[in-house]
Amino acid sequence: MKQYVIGVIVANITGVLSRVSGMFTRRGFNIDSLTVGETESSSFSRITIAFHGDEDLKERILQQIKKLHDVREVEVLDKKDTVIRELLLIKLRNKTENRQDIMTAVEIFRSKIVDYSASSLLIEITGETSKIDAFIELVKPYGIMEMCRTGIVAIERGENCLKTVNQ
């Protein structure tokens, strides 16, 4: 089982996210992560979906997505040639005995503290999923009050683009 990341350009209209995510539910496909946002053209949105599966499953998912009327373009992103990022906001207990360790972790992970109070620390960190996972593991002992991650966004390096947005 391998993780695939696909980029999908869809018409930016009501219900389009339900159609795409509903197709996954209906066909019994599992989603690891799904993010959506407007593109440079307000007529289109870009959905990034990550899922685990084999080559066959990937093909079936691609074919089913292509059939949706509101989908303009769908492509599997080659992971070695793609920048994949996720953002995490995580709130930790601000305890004197842990503060220095947290600061060190924040620095080493090139993240930043975006809110600081007597009892809590809010950290923002971006990176690949594995980096985010590692950071969470590291700070878990310090006491996670709450956290929120965006799921991944991804874009291929170089000239390769998901087409049609400007056409």
Binding site: S18, R26, Q63, K66, K67
Partner: protein, 561 residues
Amino acid sequence: MMKISGAKTVVETLIEQGCDTVFGYPGGQVLDLFDEIYLAGDRIDFILTAHEQGAAHAADGYARATGKVGVCIATSGPGATNLVTGIATAALDSVPLVAITGNVSCGLIGRDSFQEVDIVGVTMPITKHNFIVKDVNELADTIRMAFKIAKSDRPGPVLVDIPKDVQLAYAEFTADRQPVIPYPLTLAAEEKLRKAAQMINAAKRPYVYFGGGVISGKAASQVRSFAERIDAPMGCSLMGLSAVPYDDPLFLGMQGMHGHYAASAAESEADLVIALGARFSDRATGNNERFARNFKVIHIDIDGAELMKNIPADLAIQGDIRDALERLSGMVEKSSRPKWRERIEALRAEEKKLCKRKTQTAEGMLSPQEIIGVISRAAGEDVNIVTDVGQHQMWVAQEYPLKRPRSFITSGGLGTMGFGMGATIGASKAVGRRSVLFTGDGSFGMDLNELATAVTEKIPLVVVIMNNGVLGMVRQLQTMFFDRRYSATTLGRKTDFVKLAEAFGAKGARPRNIAELEKIAGEAFAYDGPFVIDCPVDSNEFVLPMLKPNGSIDEIITEIK
């Protein structure tokens, strides 16, 4: 250009798209639309059904009989949800359908208003696409798009939900006059067809398995000439029936769970299966794991999502089936395979031995096969053959001498009991031809309300009830796998279908033997309206042969004791 109301826009656009008949049921949120239907009465025929589900099945039957887009209209809330089974039936069998529903005004949406339901949300997984139109300026183009989507590529149902205030609002209407043209068809890649031709030329025992795609893809005659050219036997799925005449020398009949032994056996002995417009449903293949172990598979279908879905094909080709077959026929060698033909004849002989045609049945009962024989002789070729779902459906699929594409109308994928009456009315309306509905007492119990519609519309229709007093198909499974514990399958009803027919204003009769059936059939086919023939059938008649769900051909069941 002039401004017209949304309600009028719907009717004008339907007429523009070539729609001559609409099936439906009125209600509060479609009052304006129905007013326009009334005003356009000379240009569009409206058929009022007894229930919205009947309207959806009627639009479906209309589409199946003609290949045109069927249209049904219902009001919001319960009207819309009553269409759901009909829409799902059309979706599973790839039938082009446009369903129009009213909804509460935009400002009332989301407030659980009276008769409000999110029908777009409800039907999302059972439509090719659906729309809610909140701006009257987009209404005409949305309906045009609905027709385009419904009939493009692999056909299917599309729903358009129109809030009441949008029906009342005015917008400029440009009469396009031209029905929309479907999206250009995907055509098979040349090199893939060449590869297919090589595989076919190298094969010793090729077998053609076709499905409903050859009917909707208008490729019925291409399939026959292709099979003849490569000298391969053919079998089909339930949806493929009627594409090829039953007596084509290369045709072995329906394959699969209740199919002809020779078809399933030929497939299992083949070294190459060429699947055309079929989707390897579990009912047609049995156990998918063991299914494709002995042969290679070439799979051609217009829908790319069907390729590699149920069966890993050795060569998967996406493309229009008719074009693909025409080009492929020019690439394959004309072959003669006497040894394979000899084996096929041996399988046919084996089928005759294994699956003896039953003419004997219990005292005072009629054998299903004999009923079909009598009806087919009385009906002639110029009829639509429609079924409901259950044992009677399988008997008809096995036995009826079907000759002409689109002459057989049945709910295959969804297996909808209660499909028949609506579909029959739609089919008869569409082609102005008499229809025969084979049904069971169980199925007919679900759709007999539409007898009222058939009487009102004077539909020439012969309803043949195979009345065994039980839900036979499920009972058969209980007989085999549940030690005859007949949970909830014995109807024990006292319904007199002859009196019931008369109460509806139709005619009815109950034959006590085959000779009486012959006489009654003669009368029924001469009658200009619905005629119900209530045939007593023994509840211990089984659909045979049978492959167990998930079974394979070597485990065929030819007898149930």
